[in-house]
């Protein structure tokens, strides 16, 4: 999924790489700056970083996926977060997730093609009493049911 125009990514990357040396220890600082500038790590950017550092692309991918701080999709306008903590889990969080995935057509960590929504799961919101919990941007929705998902996310069915 290419969101930024290719040249835009290229210019920003060239800028970032210009003040780093081609030393493998620079990998994480470079990735952090790329994410800062672009909001996520597009594949083309990781490839370019790999080429710059003479590293295999797979190694850059391995390192970046190891750290939770890196994102591989741009974030959507609205951020949907679902709890996968124990309390929520036993009260049916998996069904909620299933419903959200179905409605938005994306999996956790992904963003819809129109950049409207991105989806994430969270270990525990600390609102276990309200389980199962879903948060859209700053709005907390408790005692979720698949039906409520439809109400909150509207009826936009995707494939």
């Amino acid at each position: 999924m290419i969101i930024l125009a290719e040249t835009e990514v290229k210019d920003k990357l060239d800028e970032i790489l210009s003040h780093h040396s081609a030393n493998r220890d620079e990998l994480i600082p470079i990735l952090q700056e790329v994410q800062e500038a672009l909001g996520y790590l597009p594949q083309e950017a990781m490839q370019k970083v790999a080429r710059f550092l003479h590293l295999p692309e797979s190694a850059v991918f391995g390192v970046s996926t190891f750290y939770a701080q890196f994102k591989f999709f741009p974030t959507g306008k609205k951020k949907v977060r679902l709890c996968r903590g124990t309390a929520c889990h036993v009260r049916g969080a998996p069904h909620i997730l299933e419903e959200v995935e179905k409605r938005l057509g994306i999996k956790p960590g992904e963003t819809t093609d129109d950049l409207e929504y991105s989806l994430e799961t969270i270990a525990c919101f600390g609102s276990c009493a309200l389980a199962p919990v879903m948060v859209v941007d700053d709005n907390v929705y408790g005692r979720m049911t698949p039906k409520k998902v439809a109400q909150i996310l509207g009826d936009k069915k995707r494939d």
Partner: protein, 892 residues
């Protein structure tokens, strides 16, 4: 290597200094269970199964990462050790499928073996549910992550052994997994499909699609490229079903590439194999008996004068067969008109190195690569054309060897290079002489070596005057500072080895290119020492051997000159016949011209497909059509065989005995694994029959071993070679006597010609350069997944999955100007012809240059190439010609 002594489980044990505790135990036959250790991989220490107790050390160190030291006392079977092992396995099998009986790794699985050793009979932890889809995209193996124990052997193999780096561990914790870049299926990754990771996976995660076990195995030599990897063919019920690398040799040490591991068997049993002699009757092929076919060949060949006959021998066939065919030509048909495809790849190596060093073969060995402080790879796409040598180079770089790559295209080696020189195709003499100039100017040459071992240095020095940096940079397109940096790195890292292939030789000034590499090596004293030298990488499995055996118009076996009266007398005595006059025969490039003009009337072609490999292929085809009589001996009805009057079905490497000589001059056995398919016959047998039918006494051989004995008698460099000795492993020529151990490095004391000769050179541009009408430069090469004209490799389904058709690689900038998108069908047009293929846009091709291979009959690239010849070696300029690329309107 000094030894140390230690005590393991109360037993006194000796080990090499530097060994790990695990290696010391294994050497003494003491079993320590392991899951992540591998003799070819750096110690990793992640599975913790190999823990031991060591007196005086705290905790439980892992044996695979702990160096053994003198007087160490080790215990491998204490309760604490076994408790850890047990827990490790309990955790691993908690999410491991338990379908051992039907598992593809049953009985070969190391997890199974360790669990059995520990007496584990049940799952102690509750089953967790992991569920990954299986990646079945690769045609030869699957990745089922549900079995994966995350030992990272595959990942480390792909980085440490092959240097490809297609996979790595990605994500973490519960979601951790082996992944390609972007977590894509294997087939969308850069994986080269060598299968090295598959071989090392301890469980059924990475498994070959073919898992049948053979009933017996035969050790032989890979039939594809000049590396000459040793492999075991596995046979079951008359069928070759498996291939495995042989670890006990100095060439490949167990490793194989995709062609050897997965592509060497399917064509053997291919339904299109020729199984009966064919004779053309009224324009159609008719199957006939061997008797009839051979009688007719003999009778019809008798009708021609020696100067009307030409023979094309084969770099795919064995030494014995090449020897016999040139003997048939010289002793029976009376002609020196014999040649083979080496003309089209390495004749400049033979010519250029003969002038400078006195002998034209790879000076050093594959095993030497690790000893080089610097590798200079020019005009070789080693990882594609000589994959296992590519592995070895990348491994050396990993351990600190410097790498300079000179190549117009961004080949795989570039990622591993310290310096990449992107010279314009055809500018190599300028680049190499420019580097010599820098080395002389900066005083970095080896004055002592030059004084003692070389001559003609002053002539070289004065010819360097013409190669100032300004000029060199302008001609090559390489920035001045890069030329200087490369010259310094090459000159100051000793020993330094030069490797080259067809990027150097296939030019109208190919011999000059080779001489330039020799100048550079002599200048820095990089000849005759381990890890140095000039190393032309020979393309085909036995192109070295075919040259050695005298399948060349100017030399008898062992490069004994046809022009020498003494040599002629020697062979007349040896063969008991009179031989043609001391005048060299025609080179293959001239043979086609002569056939076209009607001067050559009959041809005998063994195992070659010149219609695809010759430049200006249309012309070559027409030449063959004009012949009165054409005999082709091959395993398939190749494009060339279709034009023949008589086709004789030979056999593959798996159905006959013989020897191949690899690129490092190592003579190695080819062993018969199965009986010939159908009514096909070994090529040596066929030649013997024709020799006998034509009345010669010199072809009464019981088998290839006897033929080799005759070769040894008449060829000084093969003098000490016999099948009995080869049973113990290959031998590198020169091997003059029965006691001689073979020669891994040439020119150690003196050059073959005495002193090494510097040769002044001048820069000559390629014959045909881009102009207004043909604005792009076409250069040709190979793909890893195919071989030569594809006669064998294209019969392997899985290899076609990787590369099923020709692709014209073009830089996006050029493509944009022409309105061409990736995947468009385009027409490539030169002054000699046109070819249609799909375009692939890639930065790997520099601006102004397009790239094609010559493996595909549907897109015969060599209809475009320029037959302009090198004046000395008579090699055509296959690497450079001018073309224009047009978008093909009629397609999608």
């Amino acid at each position: 290597m000094s030894e140390i002594r230690l005590i393991i489980n109360g037993i006194k044990v000796k080990a090499n200094r530097g060994a790990t505790v695990l290696e010391a135990a294994q050497a003494a036959g003491i079993y320590i269970p392991t899951l992540c250790a591998d003799p070819d991989l750096e110690p990793y220490g992640s599975c913790r199964l190999c823990v031991v107790e060591i007196e005086g050390m705290r905790g439980l160190p892992t044996a695979c990462t702990t160096p053994a030291t003198d007087n160490m006392v080790v215990h491998t079977e204490t309760p604490a050790v076994n408790e850890v092992r047990r827990t490790v396995i309990d955790l691993l099998i908690a999410d491991h499928p338990m379908d051992c009986l039907t598992c593809r790794k049953n009985q070969q699985c190391e997890l199974q073996k360790v669990a059995a050793y520990l007496g584990i009979t049940e799952r102690r932890f509750p089953r967790t549910n992991r569920s990954f889809p299986v990646d079945t995209t690769n045609p030869f193996f699957d990745l089922d992550r549900n079995y994966c124990i995350l030992c990272a052997k595959c990942v480390r193999t792909c980085h440490e052994v092959t240097g490809v780096g297609a996979i790595d561990l990605a994500y973490r914790g519960y979601t951790a997994k082996v992944a390609t870049f972007g977590d894509k299926p294997f087939m969308e990754s850069i994986c080269k499909s060598c299968g090295e990771c598959v071989v090392r996976c301890p469980v059924a995660a990475l498994v070959p699609k073919e898992t049948r076990q053979p009933t017996r195995e035969v050790l032989t030599t890979c039939p594809y490229c000049g590396v000459g990897c040793q492999m075991y063919l596995g046979i079951r019920d008359g069928e070759i079903i498996s291939v495995r690398g042989d670890r006990d040799n100095q060439v490949n040490m167990g490793r194989l590439c995709v062609k050897g591991r997965f592509g060497a068997t399917e064509f053997i049993h291919h339904p299109e194999r020729l199984s009966s002699p064919l004779v053309r009757r009224n324009g159609e092929f008719a199957e006939v008996s061997w008797e009839e076919a051979l009688d007719e060949v003999a009778a019809r060949l008798r009708r021609y004068q020696p100067e009307e006959i030409a023979i094309l021998s084969s770099a795919k066939c064995t030494n014995e067969e090449n020897y016999l065919l040139q003997k048939l030509g010289r002793a029976v048909l009376g002609t020196h008109n014999i040649d083979h495809c080496a003309r089209l790849c390495h004749s400049p190596s033979v010519a250029g190195l003969a002038t400078t060093f006195g002998s034209g073969a790879m000076t050093n060995s594959i095993g030497d690569i690790k000893d080089a402080a610097c590798i200079f790879a020019i005009g070789t796409n080693t990882t594609e054309a000589h994959p296992v040598i590519g592995f070895e180079m990348k491994k050396a770089v990993r351990r600190g060897t410097k790498l300079i790559v000179a190549n117009p295209r961004e080949i795989e080696l570039v990622r591993h290079a310290d310096i990449w020189l992107r010279q314009r195709p055809g500018s190599d003499v300028a680049l190499l002489m420019g580097m010599c100039r820098v080395i002389v100017d900066e005083g970095l040459f080896d004055a002592a070596f030059i004084a003692e071992r070389c001559e003609n240095f002053d002539a070289l020095k004065s010819s360097l005057q013409a190669f100032d940096l300004d000029f060199v940079s302008r001609i090559t397109g390489v920035p001045q500072e890069q030329i200087v940096a490369a010259a310094r790195l090459y000159a100051t890292s000793r020993p330094a080895a030069i490797f080259y292939a067809m990027g150097i030789t296939q030019h109208s000034h190919g011999t000059d290119n080779v001489i330039a590499t020799a100048n550079l090596a002599m200048l820095t004293g990089n000849v005759g020492k381990p890890g140095s030298g000039i190393n032309p990488l020979r393309g085909q499995n036995n192109v070295q051997g075919a040259c050695d055996m005298g399948a060349l118009p100017n030399v008898y076996p062992g490069y004994q000159a046809v022009t020498s009266e003494a040599v002629k007398e020697k062979f007349e005595a040896g063969w008991g016949c009179s031989l043609p006059p001391t005048k060299p025969g025609l080179a293959v490039t001239d043979v086609f011209e002569a056939a076209y003009n009607g001067q050559i009337k009959a041809m005998y072609i063994m195992g070659e497909n010149p219609i695809l490999s010759e430049p200006q292929a249309k012309h070559a085809e027409e030449a063959l059509r004009r012949l009165e009589f054409l005999v082709v001996q091959d395993i398939f009805l190749s494009e060339t065989a279709r034009l023949a009057h008589i086709v004789l079905p030979g056999v593959t490497f798996a159905e006959k005995d013989g020897t191949f000589t690899n690129t490092e001059r190592r003579v190695q056995r080819v062993r018969r694994a199965i009986a010939p398919i159908g009514n096909a016959k070994p090529d040596w047998w066929i030649i013997c029959q024709i020799g006998k039918k034509m009345g010669s006494q010199g072809f009464n051989f019981a088998g290839p071993s006897q033929i080799m004995d005759e070769i040894a008698r008449l060829t000084p460099s093969y003098g000490g070679i016999s099948y009995r000795r080869l049973e113990k492993g290959g031998l590198q020529w020169p091997c003059p006597t029965k006691e001689h151990p073979g020669t891994p490095i040439l020119h150690t004391q003196a050059f073959t010609r005495g002193k090494g000769q510097f040769m002044p050179l001048e820069f000559k541009p390629s014959m045909e350069l881009p102009d207004d009408e043909y604005p792009l430069l076409l250069t040709t090469g190979r793909s890893l997944f195919h071989f030569h004209t594809g006669t064998m490799s294209r019969k392997v389904k899985g290899l076609n999955v990787f590369r099923g058709e020709e692709l014209v690689e073009i830089n996006p900038q050029d493509a944009e100007a022409l309105g061409i998108a990736d995947g468009d069908t385009v027409k490539v047009v030169s002054r000699r012809g046109e070819v249609t293929a799909k375009a692939r846009l890639t930065q790997a091709s520099p601006v102004g240059v397009v790239f094609m291979t010559f493996h595909f009959a549907e897109s015969p690239t060599n209809q475009l190439t320029n037959p302009a010849l090198d004046p000395v070696a008579r090699i055509p300029e296959l690497k450079v010609c001018a073309v224009r690329v047009e978008k093909n309107g009629s397609s999608g």
